[in-house]
């Protein structure tokens, strides 16, 4: 332990001002997040969310480079360092100057938002695990196979570019967004973490730089492959595995076409809108369509398979039963042309997450309510810059699934439901506009409010009824469906 502390103290002495800058940056991120009551962060917070992980990575790399593992001229290599203790000193540094500040900042943010951090410990610890697997360990591994910070900083984008190239084969949207898919991200992080541990072990135990570098490249390719290959068919069962199986047996049937929903082709894709109905879900429950696997067989024997789908946006996902009950299938125009002339058979299976509705809660304007013990919501009027304002309903939760709720605004007298737009602020996408480091999942729905001539603002706010119905996941179920003798042209334009 003595040797570990000696090396650790030496690293702190060398990097004291970088540590200070990082802690100041963490504090600023914490303050901005703690004071935010909106789904989207400001530009400063968004940028700091981008920069802080890079600062952490560079700090870890600099600590590793206190005793560089590459080369044969380093002073320490002929001194009686024990590799295990040297590695432990570096791990201690990363833990104390990446994970502890992150955890403390998260706890402070939660406390500022009215949550007891101890009650939210599981998601906080899971985040630290992901941070270790996705950032600290890869940073340690990369630093262990390069000889200085410049090479390290060059290596980070190279690693990212490798991932981007790998994912570009599959995604039509920027590859950075792939991390919005939590299960794939967790898989990718797991691959990265295992490879990073192997590299770190190899370098500290044996200093096998060439082999470690090969492993690093293989790991980057492995993560890209994970993201490309392990898409919905694998991640759906894995995601669903977290939800207990429901005893409910669902039956899903495709319905006749609804001309109101059919629209024309876009970007060399033809949209086939398939209305459906699901039975077997009890009155008190709702179903949330989460994944679809589908096959369309033409009269001429041509098959079109959606397993795995080529793009997550090709099948309309996240649609609630009884509200938007249709599958929106974006089919490449070429495939559609081959199959459209003749009757087809459509078959497949759909995965549902079933949830139960909680007690309805009324939320007056200007109030904040603890909705489920795991979610807090507030309602506020924002005047805006024009002749209308917005009624913002804002909810946050330390848990991703804690935000499941049906939020509605209606006029009491007319019993008329207002349309709102949703500004999500969930974590997971490292863009300047999203606070992916935040320990809070956020959701915001805004409703445009124009005050009529004979009304006052308080009167109109009094007239509006904001209700929140929390939803609790109760299980999962898979429904098979099959429809024969279908004319695809009736379901598309």
């Amino acid at each position: 332990m003595h040797e570990i502390l000696v090396i650790f103290k030496k690293d702190v002495r060398r990097l004291w001002w970088q540590i200070g800058a990082m802690l100041a940056m963490s504090a600023v991120v914490g303050c901005l997040d703690a004071g935010r009551a909106a789904a989207q962060p400001g530009v400063a917070e968004g940028l700091l969310n981008m920069v802080l992980p890079l600062v952490w990575a560079c700090l870890v790399a600099q600590a590793i480079h206190g005793e560089p593992l590459v080369g044969d001229r380093e002073f320490w290599m002929t001194r009686p360092y024990r590799w295990g203790r040297l590695l432990a000193a570096k791990a201690l540094f990363a833990a104390l100057f990446v994970h502890v500040p992150s955890l403390v900042t998260d706890a402070a943010i939660l406390a500022a938002h009215g949550y007891n951090p101890l009650h939210a410990l599981p998601p906080l610890l899971v985040k630290q695990l992901l941070l270790a697997g996705g950032l600290t360990l890869p940073a340690m591994a990369l630093a262990a196979v390069v000889s200085n910070l410049t090479q390290f900083v060059v290596g980070v984008p190279v690693l990212f570019a490798t991932l981007a190239v790998g994912t570009a084969f599959r995604r039509s949207y920027p590859p950075i967004y792939v991390f919005q898919q939590p299960t794939v991200a967790v898989l990718g992080v797991a691959v990265l973490a295992v490879a990073a541990v192997a590299i770190v072990w190899l370098q500290y135990r044996r200093r096998r730089t060439r082999l470690s570098r090969i492993l690093a490249v293989a790991a980057a390719a492995g993560v890209a492959l994970t993201i490309v290959l392990f898409s919905q068919p694998v991640t759906f069962p894995m995601s669903m595995a977290r939800v207990p199986a429901a005893s409910t047996h669902l039956t899903m049937m495709l319905l006749p076409p609804d001309p109101r929903t059919v629209h024309g082709p876009y970007s060399r894709r033809v949209y086939i809108e398939l209305p459906y109905t699901v039975s077997g879900i009890s009155e008190s429950d709702r179903g949330w369509l989460t994944a679809v696997s589908m096959e369309i067989v033409g009269a001429n024997g041509v098959r079109y398979v959606y397993d795995p789908p080529r793009d997550d946006f090709e099948v309309g996902l996240m649609m609630t039963v009884n509200r938007f009950t249709r599958l929106s299938v974006a089919m490449p125009s070429a495939a559609y042309e081959r199959i459209k002339d003749g009757r087809v058979t459509i078959s497949g299976k759909a995965g549902f997450v079933l949830y139960r509705l909680g007690r309805k809660l009324r939320l007056p304007a200007g109030a904040t309510r603890d909705v489920t013990g795991r979610m807090r919501c507030s309602c506020a009027y924002d005047e805006g810059r024009y002749d209308y304002g917005y009624l913002d309903v804002f909810c946050d939760s330390p848990y991703r699934e804690g935000l499941l709720a049906d939020i509605r605004v209606e006029e009491k007298s007319k019993n008329w439901l207002w349309p709102g737009y949703r500004a999500s602020g969930t974590n997971g996408s490292p863009t300047p506009l999203l606070a992916w480091l935040s320990p809070l999942e956020r959701r915001q729905q805004s409703y445009r409010v124009t005050v009529p001539r004979d009304w006052t603002l308080s009167e109109i706010l009094e007239e509006l009824l904001v209700t929140i119905v929390p939803q609790y996941v109760v299980g999962r179920a898979i429904a098979n469906f099959k429809a024969v003798d279908i004319d695809l042209r009736e379901y598309s334009k």
């Binding site: 206190g66 080369g71 044969d72 380093e74 290599m77 001194r79 009686p80 360092y81």
Partner: protein
């Protein structure tokens, strides 16, 4: 333990370069063993392989009784290594550097360090990267001698230093660690001549010889034969006669196996010899003769 450092058919190959070829050497305990040879002969590679900075391609090295590939903290705590191209942590002040090193050595002696600091006149409050090359070597030496290592490995440590500093450092090594074995690689023969007890000569990765300095000096002589009349060199000469040259009535060569019978043998080869002079050679001239011989393809024996 009779030999703190021994190698057996040690080979090290880099892509397209065979740096060491079958190096077999045994350094006696307490010796000051100098590995000499021209630049690029493989001296630094040999030392880095001894210290597990490089892995041998073939053969093996045993350092303090342990295979070099298994060299760990217990052995490194008994080895002092100073190299001309070693990267020191330049951000550290000398005082902190020495205090930091101390934590790794159970045998660290503060009184020895105080003596070394006084001798070397090291500025404790200066950063290592602000020191002159000589001062940096002194700092590295102080950090390598204060724990009285059993084996001191020096790789061209004194290159570029002035004679006075060099003498001071050599003296300090020998005085501070009288029981240590010193292994020194150098291409500067004048710096080792005065104190090396053993000499090994490495050329293009191959060990040409390794023996005690006294024995080496005893067997090498610069021979000058003066003849009655100009004559050409005989067609075949003994292989231990290096770099033979004839100039008028004078024939000269380096005898690499000179003993009491050599005069008679020379006279038998040159019956018309009027005078045979055998001069004692310096280490520098011996090595120069060997290098010249090696270049001419005659070999260095």
């Amino acid at each position: 333990m009779s030999s703190p450092l021994r190698t057996e058919q040690l080979g090290k190959t880099f892509p397209q370069v065979e740096a060491l070829r079958g190096l077999t050497v045994e350094v006696p305990e307490g010796a000051v063993f100098a590995l000499v040879g021209p630049n690029g002969a493989g001296k630094t590679t040999a030392i880095k392989t001894f210290l597990n900075l490089h892995r041998p391609t073939c053969g093996r090295v045993e350092v303090l009784g342990v295979d070099s590939r298994s060299l760990g903290a217990p052995q490194l705590a008994q080895i002092g290594y100073v190299s001309e191209n070693q990267k020191l942590p330049g951000w550290m002040k000398v005082g902190y550097f020495l205090a930091y090193c101390k934590e790794f050595y159970p045998n660290w002696r503060d009184d020895d360090l105080a003596e070394l600091l006084r001798l070397y006149e090291l500025p404790l409050d200066r950063k290592l990267n602000q020191l002159s090359r000589g001062m940096r070597v002194k700092a590295a030496l102080a950090a390598s001698l204060a724990y009285r290592p059993k084996l001191i490995v020096l790789d061209e440590p004194f290159g570029g230093l002035d004679v006075l500093v060099r003498e001071q450092l050599i003296e300090s090594i020998l005085e501070r660690t009288p029981e240590a074995t010193v292994f020194l690689a150098s291409h500067d023969l004048s710096e080792i001549e005065s104190f090396a007890s053993h000499i090994a000569y490495l050329n293009e990765g191959r060990l040409e010889f390794a023996e005690e300095t006294a024995a080496l000096s005893a067997r090498f002589r610069e021979i000058q034969v003066t003849l009655d009349a100009p004559a050409e060199l005989p067609a075949s000469l003994p292989e231990e006669w290096l770099n033979p040259e004839a100039s008028g009535v004078v024939v000269g060569f380096t005898h690499s196996r000179y003993d009491e019978r050599s005069q008679a043998e020379i006279r038998s080869r040159f019956p018309a010899a009027r005078e045979i002079a055998a001069r004692v050679m310096t280490l520098r001239s011996i090595v120069l003769a060997l290098e010249k011989s090696a270049k001419s393809g005659q070999g260095a024996r």
